[in-house]
Symmetry: D2
Subunit: 338 residues, 4 copies
C-alpha cells in the first residue's frame, strides 16, 4: 500500500508535537508539510526538542496551498482557525480538526459557548461511543473530541446506556498543564503550578461542558476542571445517582460488556483504580467503576493522557478508521511509566 | 503569663513535625517532651531536618510517664494508639488527639469504619462549625478533625445551614502525599506519584466519609479522594443540588455572613478560585462558592494545607481556644508561595 | 521602640511577595507603600494570593514620591531600575536593592556582564562573609547578593580562607524556577519544567559568575546553573583542588569554626547532606563539606531557599544589622517541610 | 527471520518494566519468561499498570530453569544476584546484565566498591565508546553500563580522546528518582522528593565513580550525584581543564566528528543546552559542549533517560548489535514531551 502523506498545521504547539511523535512511529504514514503561525520560518527542533528526526525541518506558513498533495491534514489550531482552513481544503483530503470548531451539533450551543457563527458539525472522533465508529469510516472530515469529554464520556456512557443511573452527572476532572497549550499566562508558569492544585471555570463555565452533555445524550452535567502539577494526564471522577439497586459487580459487568471489543479501553481489575501515569504517551483509557450504596451513586474514574488518547492519539485512531487502516496502527496501549 | 509546656507524641512523623514547626513560633509555648515509637533514641534532626533549633533533641519513648508535668500533650499517633495513651493521661492535662480515635460521635460508625471498640467522643476541633467553638473553651480533651473533613465541611456547611441545597453532597478532593504520612508503601514513592493523579478508596470507602457526614448533620456524602503530585495541600470540590433558585451572588452573601468573623477563613474575591499553593504552611482556608444554574447545583471549592489547617494548625487553634489564649496565637493566614 | 516603616517597590513579583511574607511577621516593622510597574492599580491579592492580610491593598506607582516618610525601601526591580530609583531616594532612607545594580565592585565587570554604566557599589548584604557584617552596621545602602552567589560563596569561603584549596572552583547549582521571576517565557511554563532538568548559561555565561569570584577574592570560577522542577531552592555543589593533605574531619573543623557564631548557617552532622526542602521559607543555609582523596578535591554542598536566604530573607537580615535590630528579628532557621 | 525469544528476570521493578515496554514494541522479539523475586506469583499488571498487553501475565520464580529455551535473558537484578544467575545460564544464551556485577575490569576496584569477589568482566554495552561496539558483535554476555557512566562518559570521551582537556574531570549529575528503583526508603517518598534537590554519596562515594574512570581511560573523577524531583532523567554537567587554547567551535567540531555516525547521540545546535524532558522514553543522548575561557575549562552537558538509554534502551541496543539486528531496531530517538 502507498504511504499516507500527512501534514500538520500548528506543528510548534503541544498537540502538533504529539501528533508528530505518534506519526513518526506510524507504519503507514509519511510526514509532509509542517506549518505554524507566528513560528513559521523556525525549525521544529526549536519548539519540539524531543522530535530528533525532525529537528532541522523548517515550519512553513499555514496557508491552504501548503497542504496540496496531502492525503491527510491535521489541524492543531486555536478554535476559529480550523473552520476557516478546513473550508479551504478539498473534499478529497481527510481533514482532522483537533480543535473545537466542529464538535458541537447544536449551533445554539456553539454560539453560547464559543461565540460567533457555528461552522458546522463533523463526524465525531470518539469511536468508542455508540454509533460513532460507523460514521468515521470513509469520512473526509473528523472533529477530534476535547480531552475532558473523552475521559468523562467513556467513564459514564455505559452506565447511562444501561439505565443504571439518572442522567444527572457530576464530573470533577484533574488535568495536567499541557491541556492549556503553550499559552504564556502567569498561572501556567512552573513556579505557580508546581506544588499546587487549583480549580478553574467552576460552575459550568468550561466549554467542554456542552460537549460532555452531547455525548451523554443530553444529560445534565456539573463539570469542574482542576489543574494539578503534572504535564500530562486527565483523571476524571464521574458519578451519577443510581436508578436501581445495582451492585458494583453488576456495574462492572455492564462496563466489561460495553468495552469488550474496544482495543484502547482497559477496564482495570476489581479494586484497582486508575492512575494517569500508566497512560502517559499511550492511547489507553484506564477505567474503573463501582457503586456507593450509602451515597446512592455509581462512581466511575477514567484516566487518559490528554495529549494522546485525549487529542493526538484519538485523532490518529479516527484517521485509521477513516482510511481503512487497522484501528490500532501506530498506536499502543502501553504507557511510559514511572 | 507562664509559658505553656507542651509535649508531642509522635514527633518523627509529618504531623509531629508540623506541630513542632508551628509550636517553635508560638509566643506562649515552650517545647517539652518529644517522643516517638520505633524512632525513639534518634534525634529530631534525623527525621525533621527543617527543624534546625531542635536538631539535636533526642526522641524519648512514648509512655505516659514521659508527659508528666506538661500542660498540653499532642498525640500524632496512628489510630488506636491515641485512645490508649489519652486514657492514661490525667484530667488536668490538655490532650489533643490528631488521630481519628475520638472524632466520631456514633460508636456504631466507629466500629464499622475503624473496627474494634469506640474510645469515646471528644470535643471536635473545628471551631468554624456552628456550636463547635464553645465546646472547646476550657476543655481538656480535643479531637482534631481529619484533613478532608476540615476542607469539605467548611466548604458546604453554610449552604446546608442556609437550606440552599439538599443534604446530598458530592465531594472530590485532591490531596498531596503528606496526608498519607511517612508510610513506606510503593504507591507513595516519588517515582510513582510525580506526574500522576490517582483515585483511591473510591465508592465511599474512605474513613473520612462518616466524619464529613457527621459535620454536615447527617447529609448523604459521596466522597472520592484523589492523590496528586504535591507534598501538601487539599483542594476539595464540593457540590449539592440547589433547593431554591438562588444565584451566585446570593450564595456568596450567605458564605460572607457565615464566615465574617472567622480569622482563618478567606472567602476569595468573586471570580477567583482557590489554589492550594496559597495556603502552604498557613492556617487559612481559601474558599469560593458559585451556582451552576444549568446543572442545578451549588459548587464550593476549599483549599487548605492538609498538615497546617488540616491537622497541626487546626490543633493549635483549638488549643488556643481551650487555654484562653488568642485564637490566632502562633498561627497565620499567610502561606509560603510560590 | 518605634516601628520601622518599610516600603516595597516591585511588590507584585516573587521577590516582592517574599519580602512581604517575611515583613508581615517581623515584630519591629510596619508595612507602608507597596508599588509596582505595570501592575500598579491592581491589588496585592491578584498577584500574591498567599498574602491574605494584604489582599485588598492596591499597588501604587513606583515613583520616588511614593516612598516619602519611610525608614526602609526595598527595591525588588529588574536591574537598571534600582540604580535610578536608588539615586532619587534620600540619604536618610535605608535603601535595600534586591537587584544586581550595586553588587559588583569592578565597573569593568559591570559593563562586561550587564552592559551600560556602573551605578556604583553598595555594602554587600552577605554578613557571613569575612568583613561584610561590619560594613552593614548603620549603612543606608545595601546591595543584596544574588541567590547563587549566596550559596556558592558560603560553601567555599572557609576552605579558601583556610588555604585548604586552590582558588580554582567548580560550581554546579541546581535551582528552582522562582529564581527566574514571573517572566512569561516558554521554557518556564509548568509543562516544560515539570519532569525536566536543564542547564543554561553554560560556559561561564551567567551574570552571577563574577559575583561569586568577587566574594571568593578573585578565584577562578566555573559556574553552571541547572533548572530543576521545583519552585524554590538552590543546591550548590562546589569543589576545588586540595592544596594540602587535609581529610574530611579537618575540613569540617575549619567550617565548624568559621560558622560557629553564625545564626543562619547550619553545618549538618557528618555524613548528612543538604536537601533544599529543609530550607523552604526559612533563612537557613544547610551546609556540608567533605574531602575526596581519590579526586584530590574538597567538595562542599550548600542548600538555601533562593527567595528567602537567597534574596528576601538575606535582605531583611542585612536590614536588621543596618538598623541595629537583632540580626534574627523576623527570621527563622525553620523550613516548611515536607 | 525467526523471532528472538527473550526473558526478563526482575520484571516487577523499574528496569524490568522499561525493558518490557521497549521489547513490546521491538519488531524482532517475542516475550517469553518473566520472573521476579518476592513478587513471583503476582501479575505484571499489579506492578506495571502501564504495560496493558502483559497485565495478566503471572511472574514466575527466578531460577535458571525458567530461562530454558530463550535466546536472550535480561537480568534486572540487584548486584550479586546477576553473577550467580549468569553463571548458571548456558553459553548459547545471550545474557544481558543490567546490574553492576560484570562492568568493572579491575577485580580490585570491584572488591573496594562493591565488596566480595569479582564475578568477571563482560563486554561493556556502551557501543558509542571507542572500541566497544566491536566487542559486542556476536557476544553472549553483555554488561549494561550504569546510568550515570553512560551520560558522563559520552559527555567527556571525545574531549579526552582529542586531548583537549586534562584527565581530571568534575561531574555533577542530576537524576530522577527511578534510578533508585522501587526501594522503600523514606528519602524516596514522594513527600520527600517533590520540591527538593539533594546531594548524596558526595566525595567520591558513589559506586559509579570507578566505572566513569574506567570509561575515561583512568581519568581522575570527582563525581557528585544530585537527586531532583522528577521520575526519569539524568543531566550530567561535566567539565575538565583545557590543555590547549581551543574555542567552543573547535570543541564542537571534535564532538560532531566523534558522533557523526552514532544513531542515538544528538549533538544540539550551538547555543542550545539539553533538557532531560526531551529524552524521556527515548534512547537518545542529547549533548552540548562549550569552552569557558575565563575558567579555563571545557564544559559538556549530556541528558538521557536513565531507564531508557541509561539502562533498558542501552541494553536492547547492545542486544541488537550482539544478534546482528539493526542497531536501532525497537528503539527511537524520539522522546515523550512535554
Amino acid at each position: 500500500m502507498h504511504m499516507v502523506r500527512v501534514a500538520v498545521a500548528g506543528a510548534s504547539g503541544y498537540v502538533g508535537g504529539e501528533l508528530l511523535r505518534l506519526l513518526l512511529a506510524h507504519p503507514d504514514v509519511e510526514i509532509g508539510a509542517l506549518t505554524a503561525g507566528g513560528n513559521a520560518g523556525t525549525t521544529v527542533g526549536e519548539h519540539q526538542p524531543h522530535l530528533v528526526p525532525l529537528a532541522d525541518r523548517v515550519l512553513g506558513d499555514t496557508t491552504p496551498d501548503a497542504f496540496a498533495g496531502h492525503d491527510v491534514v491535521f489541524l492543531a489550531l486555536p478554535h476559529g482557525h480550523s473552520a476557516e482552513l478546513g473550508a479551504a481544503l478539498g473534499d478529497d483530503t481527510l481533514v482532522i480538526d483537533c480543535g473545537a470548531d466542529h464538535r458541537l451539533v447544536s449551533a445554539e450551543d456553539w454560539t453560547r459557548w464559543y461565540g460567533g457563527e457555528h461552522a458546522g458539525t463533523w463526524p465525531y472522533g470518539l469511536p468508542e461511543l455508540p454509533g460513532a465508529r460507523e460514521k468515521l469510516v470513509g469520512t473526509k472530515r473528523i472533529a477530534v473530541p476535547g480531552c475532558y469529554p473523552t475521559a468523562a464520556s467513556l467513564a459514564l456512557a455505559p452506565a447511562l446506556a444501561a439505565d443504571l443511573v439518572s442522567p444527572d452527572v457530576v464530573v470533577v476532572a484533574v488535568t495536567g498543564t499541557s491541556g492549556a497549550g503553550k499559552s504564556l499566562k502567569p498561572n501556567l508558569l512552573g513556579s505557580e503550578v508546581m506544588g499546587s492544585a487549583s480549580a478553574y471555570n467552576v460552575g459550568g463555565l468550561h466549554r467542554h461542558t456542552p460537549e460532555i452533555a452531547q455525548n451523554l445524550n443530553g444529560a445534565t452535567v456539573s463539570f469542574t476542571p482542576v489543574l494539578a502539577p503534572m504535564a500530562r494526564g486527565i483523571l476524571a471522577t464521574c458519578s451519577a445517582p443510581l436508578k436501581s439497586t445495582v451492585d458494583s459487580a453488576a456495574a462492572r459487568a455492564v462496563y466489561t460488556k460495553a468495552y469488550a471489543d474496544e482495543p484502547f479501553v482497559h477496564l482495570l481489575p476489581e479494586g484497582t483504580w486508575p492512575a494517569t501515569a500508566a497512560t502517559v504517551g499511550g492511547n489507553a483509557v484506564h477505567l474503573q467503576v463501582t457503586v456507593d450504596p450509602d451515597a446512592g451513586r455509581l462512581v466511575a474514574v477514567a484516566a487518559i493522557d490528554n495529549l494522546t488518547k485525549g487529542t493526538a492519539g484519538g485523532a490518529i485512531q479516527s484517521m485509521n478508521i477513516a482510511l481503512g487502516l487497522p484501528e490500532t496502527a501506530g498506536l499502543s496501549t502501553v504507557g511510559v511509566a514511572p
